[in-house]
Subunit: 345 residues, 4 copies
């Protein structure tokens, strides 16, 4: 079968690989119909993800059809249409039972990282009963690809951790795909203000279309002052970091009001400064999280009932044979305007 | 009247000062019977608290008798025995109404800081209706002095923010008075383990007497490794920072388990490193808080029902005329073994 | 001044009454600009509210201008435009401090009940600092009248107590003004389904316009079965009782799914049957609440940011001199289609 | 093998039955070492549990050793010492994933009810990976039998649902085994008062030994008045119903303070009166729950760390061959003083 394979820092290729097989009773083999590329895949390609070895098929998002299941799988059978979660969860270990699937003892984020992923014609998914989700009749497949990772990530790490609430004020630092997914799901809770901050005016324009009540280009160093003005001098109840570098985390510390939350989503490569000499008395919380995908069933219901339209995040479409082009377009997002790209098999 | 006055960095004196008078309708004048010294008073004396000007009477803790009240005070009258909260709260502003009294627009921590405090024969307390608490009949006055600041601080900033729970694991970094107050109040929730970490073996000995299930002298740099061993490799559910320096906050980052909380209590004078390059995916929370004293009524009930004995924190007693000696003993705690000192008028 | 006075069961009159005066330091006198009539006023007129004696000026909702304040009032002064909350809250007692203003020891629902109310040219409001809310510049006065009672009641007693959440299923039993206010505020949380149940098709038509995803006329006794069908056999996560009679509370018990909530809003005049022989094992909660109006600041923000338009509840407008007509129209709501009537002075 | 078999209303017998066998991949066969009798077993014997057919081996509590496992079981193997939960949980269905194991689509309370139970030499346990718990080295087996049902029931349905908190006031209506288990676990949260109410002075004497701060014999009809006196006229924050009849549920409605919770544990056989004509405005919650056993891991930690000694609930010990005697002693608890009886194989 065709697959996109990581070949070491800077290197990737479309290769012909054997179709995966059931290895454990809980496995399923899923024939992929739609997949996508994540910013994390670009991290891997830069050599920043130590757990991902050369030779690995990338991809941790997708929608498809169950091709076969192991002896222990009870919830799915051949022919079922399924959403593949980016997080594999055994459902049995202490962390799974407390809803922290991301730290499952035999799962977590392993697809397209420690085991072969979804940018291929077929994928083997461990713990299938608790890591796949049935696709409701009449669902829009492309929309559901957004539920593999990006929507639960924005929602859980940003919106839920950030305690977004009716009438509250929110700042989202970073207007890339993950910031925009956060923007869309934050609106579930009807905050009074959602201020989106970025350096790219085109992305800020998208943010306004997606529901931002204000946008700020932070190039001039005045973002914090502007947010203070917009919030009557208080700062925001929720500051969401959706970039992953020291400068943006630092900005969040300048934006957050006393009693507020800084919800980190960004994947950070280095330590940051935390200004406890100022914040120790500000009654704030800072949260971190690798998405658990516990909200996937809830998000499915919001999509099915029309409360959110995730296809707004999709800007480009490719066939699996063109996936190198898809990587190129997605990697040059500033120029191409790419948010999420859909790859169909 | 006699009062302990801050005279600039390194300087303090007992002075004779006029008895305070009602200035606003919400004020009360309280005749102090018992007060104490806080670590924060030592900070002021080092010149670290910019809001506290020379000439200020120090002290933000105490128990006494209402001497007079302003025209707007309805909950108290002359002769009532009262606990003075370290936090003044108007009860009306948005922050007070959401329970964040520490950020009251016209209150917060002002006693012995922005206005004259309790280390004197009399004190003027603003917002008396919502900043004093009636002392129940039969209460132990000295015990209640511990409810002005240290017990609510340990409980709110450490135990509540840290989400201490039955069966959970807790590490308290710092075994001074505030760490020990945290240790005492953490036991309200029956955690399975409370590990106290300090550099002073005498204080660790006190911690064991106060209910620590294990203590660690961190001088050898092995504290994190020892905690991991004690917790089956996981780290603790709650790491409480009760010192206020970069090294101890750093240690907390090494102790906390995935899904856990770092609850900061310490007053920090400089920024710290936050290792988001490791913690971004660990599903942790970090909390900061200036005590709100919202828990004072609850704590009064626990003291009155014998669930906690705060007098265990009291090691020395002085008369107000000897308060310079009291400062000396409290300031050389390592030698003297002082925890809290009671000063009676 | 002109006022609408309760004269005993079935009796009311417009009378000329002296303008109220400050009685306590915390009082304010508010010149009413807009008020409205509540279903509770009709209860009083039927003689069902024992605390309301003949001679009482009715009304507990309104918007106006501060005319004078007592010596203890610090947050407001003559000329301030204010929203009058239906709940008076001292801000000092134990219940106020825990956010249960409805049970304030010297307040609660007293306006137009135990003391004279707002259906008059002027009203005396006790505990003004914590029972009035400043009106933001540019606000729509009529919209804000809906924040005195009906919106916080629907939101606190129905939506918050009912734990409405993104993707969840909600049934609202009763499509009168309070049910519709609940319907509007439930949408703050983006539930997947809001099913409104009533006996009046015209009101159900309004419910559909206001955002109900389905409506059921329960006249045929099939409402529970229909709800089961609409929810895949499960029942709803949240069943909201907005009528106040045994039959509707009984229906809620048939609608609620295992793990769900029955949130009672209705004012009940008699006991109801609770089917614990069935529900003991269903992991449900039943909540009751007299509105606390703790959410008023939050609701003001949602109105000001355009997340909700409360004027949709307003169907008729009268001058104070025509208030008997207003009562007539409001009292014959089935025929007149009245929801909320605005009375201007 | 020997087993205690339900033979229809009023009838039970020790019979010789074939050893159970693995039927599904998720099953385990556990050799029972210790089991016990539950009040629910007496309900079954009265013919009150329609789901339990004659011929059924009773019992849903126990500790033993894994004898064999199905092909899909990964967490346990032959020889592992395990605690058998009274609730079987697949860990996969929507209700399991939200922590409501009691409503598992293919589990819930089935042991000794819909399938053969633990009062036998061997038992087949479905969904073994998520329904058995490993026994820590050095644990007291008899203590852990109390974790199969009675401790999580008291803790989840009474203490957690009832929101017991430091300094709060609690009334437990019913001083049988389940009321006493609630009493023991309520102390995890250090409430100020725990008032236990019963008709049996001997059981009240036990309650005092187990930590009740006051006990009331309700025979004279003055229980509610006495509780009001003990709580300064307020009533209790938490009223726990641990009997299951209309009179005790009615009493709870008289005990609960405004803002409080009635947490129902009792198994009810008929409807009860709910006095909404009084309670609609009291801001209370009423909760029901079939135990989910989500707290079993937490409770194991509290037992292992010595925060609770469940063996205090054990009054009698029998061999499996004497189980008819055990039923007799347990069934005549008023005379025999029986709380929990241990049956060893």
């Amino acid at each position: 079968m065709k697959a996109l394979v990581y070949r070491g820092p800077g290197l990737k290729a479309i290769e012909d690989r054997p179709k995966p097989e059931i290895q454990k009773p809980g496995d399923a083999i899923v024939k992929i119909e739609f997949t996508t590329i994540c910013g994390t895949d670009l991290h891997i390609l830069k050599g920043h993800v130590a757990t991902c070895a050369p030779g690995r098929i990338l991809g941790h998002e997708g929608v498809g059809v169950v091709d076969s299941v192991g002896a222990g799988v009870t919830a799915f059978r051949k022919g079922d249409r399924v959403l593949v979660s980016c997080i594999s969860s055994c459902g049995k270990c202490e962390d799974c039972r407390r809803g922290m699937y991301s730290h499952c003892k035999t799962g977590g984020w392993i697809l397209g990282n420690e085991i072969d992923g979804t940018q291929a014609e077929y994928v083997r998914t461990p713990h299938a009963d608790t890591s796949l989700y049935p696709i409701p009749a009449g669902a829009d497949d492309e929309a559901l690809v957004m539920l593999s990772d990006i929507l639960p990530t924005g929602f859980e790490c940003g919106v839920l951790n950030g305690k977004v609430a009716p009438g509250s004020t929110v700042a989202i630092v970073g207007s890339g795909p993950i910031g925009l997914a956060t923007l869309l799901t934050a609106q579930f809770y009807s905050p009074a203000q959602i201020i989106v901050i970025d350096l790219d005016d085109k992305r800020l324009e998208v943010a306004r279309r997606f529901g931002a009540t204000a946008t700020i280009n932070s190039a001039d160093g005045q973002a914090a002052a502007t947010v203070k003005t917009l919030t009557g001098g208080r700062g925001v109840d929720t500051a969401i970091e959706a970039v992953g570098i020291p400068a943006t985390f630092s900005l969040c510390q300048d934006l957050v009001a006393a009693g507020g939350v800084i919800a980190n989503i960004g994947v950070h490569g280095e330590k940051v400064d935390l200004h406890l000499e100022r914040l120790w008395s500000h009654n704030i919380s800072i949260t971190t999280r690798l998405v658990d995908t516990v909200s996937t069933p809830m998000l499915l219901k919001t999509v099915q009932s029309g409360k959110i339209d995730p296809t707004r995040l999709i800007t480009h479409r490719f066939k699996l044979g063109q996936i190198l082009d898809a990587y190129d377009v997605f990697g040059r997002a500033t120029e191409t305007g790419a948010l999420k790209v859909i790859i169909s098999t």
